[in-house]
């Protein structure tokens, strides 16, 4: 029985000012409506231009649950096409990356397509003579997504043809991407190797919410970060020994509540937001020799200081990515089912900067976000326990009330205490908007 399709009122009733109904996490119909509406109306991250540096290079991925190919066409522009042959539906490419030359060729019946998706040739074409093929959708080739935007090397797409434009959807939230890219003396990033791929048996939104959940690190990660600090303190070492890079990465997870309260949270319209307005767990990393001088050379002292003084923690770009500007990491939370999410964690090289920065970035990625990570283990444990616990009929609502203020206006930018759950409420406000924006009226 359909409860939510074409019923925007029922969708709206899932979101209250300070709590959300469990169906947003566990109901498969809600999940399918998210794919149909939310992931089609919003701008979703696809990839980075350095993943397809040459003409004909492609990269396969998903927008929500939609398989797509990101490809560099002969005009040097990046296109995003639905990964489906218009003939029988066969996926055109299934390897994660490759080069297809000047055209794609379907391996089933050899229909071929230019790298912008246009139909190039069909074998034995005379078999379609006078059949009206020109009027079919198949003749258009591989369908492009609704819209594509390359923002400083990062490729985003909107599945629907109509919808909010890129700039008004992200607005000032783009400042976190700017800061990440500006940290390269050349203003350019390059993807560094393949992403970590980590399967989570939980709803995708739990991961997104956790990115600005500043009340969990000292609890869930006590076993890793707390133990690390104990070990380091007890270790036999000469006075003044410098903390190793790994300790610099993991120890701040045990910072006290006051640290996280004072770091601040900023929310932007449309569900975007970030922790670490004033400082963050990334603020106190050791300087890497030679880097500051390169930045001053490239930007001048004042601007270099401003770029490097901005140490935002996690920036959530609604619906499903998080970036860490100071360490050039992007995490993509790809929904697979109501209770299944693929997390891919990418890292980027600051072009022109010392390799040691990339070493710290790679270390952060594997120490914190790998399926073999002591920190990741406890996060996943919490998500999976929550996914199972939500089936309990003891209570149907999830609480997002921390530091709630009556009459919160999410269309305005706000900076609040770093332990507020305002960003989670901001996400659900946007969730409701983009879920219902293309839904047929109150049909039921």
């Amino acid at each position: 029985m359909s409860r939510y399709a074409n019923n925007p009122e029922a969708i709206r009733n899932l979101i209250r000012p300070t709590e959300v109904h469990r169906d947003v996490y566990i109901d498969q119909e809600v999940f399918e409506l998210e794919m149909k509406h939310l992931f089609a109306n919003t701008w979703v991250f696809v990839g980075h231009e350095s993943q397809t540096p040459n003409k004909g290079d492609y990269f396969t991925t998903e927008i929500g649950t939609q398989p797509v190919i990101m490809v560099r066409h002969s005009d040097n522009e990046i296109y995003v096409l639905h990964n489906r042959c218009p003939h029988k539906g066969t996926k055109i490419a299934i390897d994660r990356t490759g080069n297809t030359g000047k055209f794609f060729r379907c391996p089933y019946h050899a229909w071929s397509f230019k790298t912008n998706g246009c139909l190039l040739a069909i074998p034995l074409r005379k078999g379609y003579k006078d059949t009206g093929l020109e009027e079919s959708e198949s003749v258009n080739g591989m369908a492009p997504v609704g819209a594509v935007k390359n923002y400083r090397g990062f490729i985003f797409a909107r599945l629907n043809k109509e919808g909010p434009d890129f700039e008004s959807f992200f607005g000032e939230a783009l400042s976190s991407f700017d800061n990440m890219v500006d940290r390269s003396p050349e203003g350019r990033l390059e993807v560094a190797g393949p992403p970590l791929r980590y399967m989570h048996r939980c709803n995708w939104k739990m991961l997104v919410e956790n990115q600005t959940d500043t009340c969990h690190p000292m609890v869930a990660h006590e076993s890793s970060a707390g133990t690390a600090i104990d070990l380091w303190e007890k270790m036999d070492k000469p006075e003044g020994t410098q903390k190793p890079m790994a300790m610099e990465v993991i120890a701040p997870f045990m910072s006290p509540y006051e640290f996280f309260e004072n770091m601040g949270i900023r929310t932007w319209p449309n569900g975007h937001g970030h922790t670490g307005v004033h400082h963050s767990i990334h603020s106190d990393y050791s300087a890497i020799p030679g880097y500051y001088e390169q930045m001053v050379e490239a930007y001048g002292e004042e601007r270099a200081k401003a770029i490097l003084g901005e140490n935002r923690h996690n920036t959530v770009y609604f619906p499903n990515i998080m970036i860490k500007g100071p360490i050039q990491q992007l995490r993509l939370f790809t929904p697979i089912a109501a209770d299944k999410t693929l997390v891919e964690s990418y890292i980027y090289r600051l072009v022109g900067a010392p390799d040691m920065l990339l070493e710290r970035t790679a270390m952060y990625n594997r120490m914190i976000n790998a399926p073999t990570s002591m920190v990741g283990h406890d996060d996943l444990e919490m998500y999976e326990r929550a996914q199972e616990g939500l089936h309990s009929d003891g209570l149907e609502w999830v609480n997002v009330q921390r530091l709630y203020q009556e009459g919160e206006n999410f269309d305005e930018i706000a900076v609040e205490n770093g332990t507020t759950e305002r960003q989670m409420r901001n996400q659900f406000h946007a969730w409701e908007k983009y879920m219902t924006m293309t839904m047929e009226g109150d049909a039921q």
């Binding site: 393949p194 992403p195 693929l342 120490m367 444990e381």
Partner: protein
Amino acid sequence: MKAPTRDDLIDFVYEEARMLDDGRFDEWLDLWTHDSYYWMPLDYNQEDAKHVTSLLHEDAFMRKLRVERFKGERTFSQKPKTRCHHVLNRPFIDHMDEEKGEYVTHTAFHYVETRLDDQILLAATARHELKLIEGKLKITHKRVDLLNSDAAFGNIQMFL
């Protein structure tokens, strides 16, 4: 031990796996030199451990941290505990340098990890670099390549 025989090297590799399966982690930590690394690449045929992501690249401090974490009262992903099981093919001896006391073995193995109702099976290859120090074999480097290192995994919690 003076110069280890082929059998000594093979026994060492088997014994290391048995320590992990038995949960004798403190003994296992003693098998390593202080400047050794345990490396599990993310990519097939990966060459660089440091400037692209690896699954693990652990020095003595990080290995010790993992072992101490296993013992913790608030190690939630280890309540209940994970158990593991290695099935080793007979190791190849790829390199023996008695003069330097340096040895390299190559071992194909299957690894099973279980917790609650979940059980995973991984196929992997281990490359041990060993050194004879004060009459004892020690690990200077261990590289573990998962056959499907580029696949999406859930938690992998123990040492392979």
